[in-house]
């Protein structure tokens, strides 16, 4: 019945932000930045937070305008119900805010027609998520889930103010330094500013700020006079159109060497983690390696790494492995260095994913017409690889995984299903950027990442144990 805190907070109160969509469709970038700055000030005016605009992908809060599917498993829906979403504080995309480019964004006050959506109002809400607030069921709260335009001289409602102050402390108030004694109207008239208008006398004093977080380093004295936030230039008085100077670009951002914060949530690697360089022609060490792909083929487990693979039959790891993949499956590209994912279809054909292509084999022979591009499967143009693939024993459906997303593939239609991609968080406990996945003969699903793996509980849709087990011990008998 009030605000809700998600749990993650930024380790500092001095945050940076940056608009990364340089030309949002039909919108003036300068005016967009002004509205975003106004929205951030709603939060900084009511807490110890400070926000500095920079021009860098390394800012804490990155702002984008996207449409439909945009690579994060939470696609937009065109002009309509979903306006925007944001990620809670954290590494990688943590803190970022995405706005649906197909909406009609208003960059001024609400217009009477009711058409269009105030960017200021939605941004103020989304930045609440970027700072660690969940939705509030208090009607009129800024963190209320449904869109409600904001009045021009908007004041942050109490529910949101108490929430943000619980996370980042209340702003030092001018009169906080003056010894408090009963305010005598006649004697003290004008002695100090009237109490904050939204804090009616009956208002219980805001909770004492949480024990101050480790003192944030004093803001580095700006090397140049700090500029007041950019404001749109006044409309020209004379009628002849004057070429308007483009707004000054925000200052370039020199990444701050901030000591790594002590308690950040587990890092969420960036979606397209570059694969480590691969030493060529060196056989992988059976007892000390991660895997590129794993699949059950003809009831045996095939584990792939670089240009080699191992076979695990009923008697365990077969002798004489790892062997070269190209000795078993012919017509792979000459310059191939590794496979990204492998799975055996219900019709017993074997599918290899390498980069942006997939290869379908009938036993050891590449079928006619292959390789084909991933887009033939209905996967997006922007996808540069599939990390893992499997037929899930729970429902005999085929799943593809990549980065932070996954798709369900309809083998009959030959395309991924419409209501996908979805976010990998659905497979609770596995995290992003898996290396491999497969369903073993015990009917259980196994996810692999790095040198560890998790056994997955299909019924509960989460890993049996948060702590991964060591792959080489369990699978290679090391």
């Amino acid at each position: 019945k009030r605000y809700s805190l998600q749990g993650n907070v930024w380790p500092t109160t001095n945050l940076t932000w940056s608009l990364r969509t340089m030309e949002p469709r039909d919108l003036d970038p300068g005016m967009v930045r002004y509205q975003l700055d106004r929205a951030l000030r709603i939060w900084s005016d009511n807490s110890r937070l400070t926000f500095r605009e920079v021009n860098s992908d390394r800012a804490d809060i990155l702002v984008y305008f996207h449409r439909l599917y945009h690579g994060d498993g939470f696609p937009f829906d065109g002009r309509g119900q979903i306006l925007a979403h944001a990620f809670f504080p954290g590494e990688g995309r943590g803190g970022d805010a995405h706005f649906d480019e197909d909406e009609i964004w208003l960059l001024g006050e609400e217009d009477a027609s009711g058409q269009g959506t105030s960017l200021f109002a939605v941004a103020a809400h989304e930045f609440g998520h970027s700072l660690g607030l969940q939705h509030s069921s208090v009607k009129g709260a800024l963190m209320y889930p449904w869109y409600q335009g904001l009045s021009p001289n908007y004041k942050l409602p109490d529910d949101d103010r108490v929430a943000i102050q619980q996370l980042y402390g209340a702003k030092e108030r001018l009169w906080a330094k003056i010894p408090t004694y009963p305010y005598d109207r006649d004697r003290d008239r004008g002695a100090w500013p009237t109490p904050h208008p939204t804090a009616p006398p009956t208002q219980p004093p805001p909770p004492p700020p949480p024990p101050t977080p480790p003192p944030t380093p004093p803001p580095t004295p700006p090397t140049r006079p700090t500029r007041p936030p950019w404001r749109p230039p006044k409309p020209p008085k004379h009628d002849k159109p004057r070429h308007r100077q483009p707004p000054p670009p925000p200052p370039t951002y020199r990444p701050r060497t901030r000591p790594p914060p002590p308690t950040l949530p587990p890092p969420r690697p960036s979606p397209a983690e570059p694969r480590t360089e691969r030493p060529q022609e060196v056989k992988p060490d059976t007892c000390n390696t991660n895997y590129d792909a794993i699949s059950v083929i003809r009831r045996e487990v095939f584990i792939f790494k670089d240009k080699y693979f191992w076979r695990i039959g009923d008697r365990g790891l077969e002798e004489g492995y790892p062997a070269e993949i190209q000795r078993f499956w012919y017509s792979l590209p000459r310059n191939f260095t590794h496979v990204d994912a492998v799975y055996e279809r219900l019709d017993k054909k074997i599918v290899f994913f390498i980069g942006r292509q997939y290869f379908v084999y009938d036993a050891n022979t590449l079928m006619h017409g292959y390789p084909r591009p991933l887009t033939d499967l209905g996967l997006p143009e922007t996808l540069d690889r599939v990390d893992a693939a499997m037929v899930w024993g729970h429902n005999k459906k085929t799943y593809f995984y990549s980065g932070t997303m996954y798709w369900r593939f309809d083998e009959d239609v030959g395309k991924v299903e419409l209501d996908y991609p979805r976010d990998m968080s659905m497979w609770r406990g596995v995290g992003y950027n898996v290396d491999a996945v497969f369903q073993w003969k015990d009917g259980k699903t196994y996810f692999f990442k790095g040198k560890g793996f998790w056994k997955f509980n299909d019924q509960y849709m989460r890993v049996e144990s948060e702590k991964p087990m060591q792959s080489s011990v369990f699978w290679m008998g090391c």
Binding site: L83, H85, A86, H129, P145, Y147, D419, M426, M461, R462
Partner: protein, 91 residues
């Protein structure tokens, strides 16, 4: 099984799952839901949206489902796990 008196089409069920009123994981496992579960989910949505709490998919509720909103879930993950993590999954 007796036909449910409460008919909630896929789009509404997707809405309830997307915003955390029904277990997201059901999307994947296809676990069936009881009518009572659907009614509970509708009641919670109606409470959150400050409209009459009926447990029915009535006109007010359909209007609420159409209103523009933020895409972040209303029921936090943590709470979903607590609420449904203990639920015995029916085969």
């Amino acid at each position: 099984a007796p036909r449910s008196h409460l008919y909630v089409d896929d789009r509404v069920q997707n809405y309830l799952m997307r915003y955390g009123y029904l277990p997201q994981s059901d999307k994947e496992t296809g676990n069936l839901r009881t009518e009572e579960q659907l009614r509970d989910a509708l009641r919670e949505l109606q409470r959150y949206g400050h409209i009459p709490v009926t447990g029915e998919l009535d006109e007010e509720t359909r209007r609420l489902l159409q209103r523009p909103r933020c895409a972040v879930a209303d029921v936090p993950y943590r709470e979903q796990t607590l609420r449904w993590g203990r639920r015995k999954h029916r085969h």
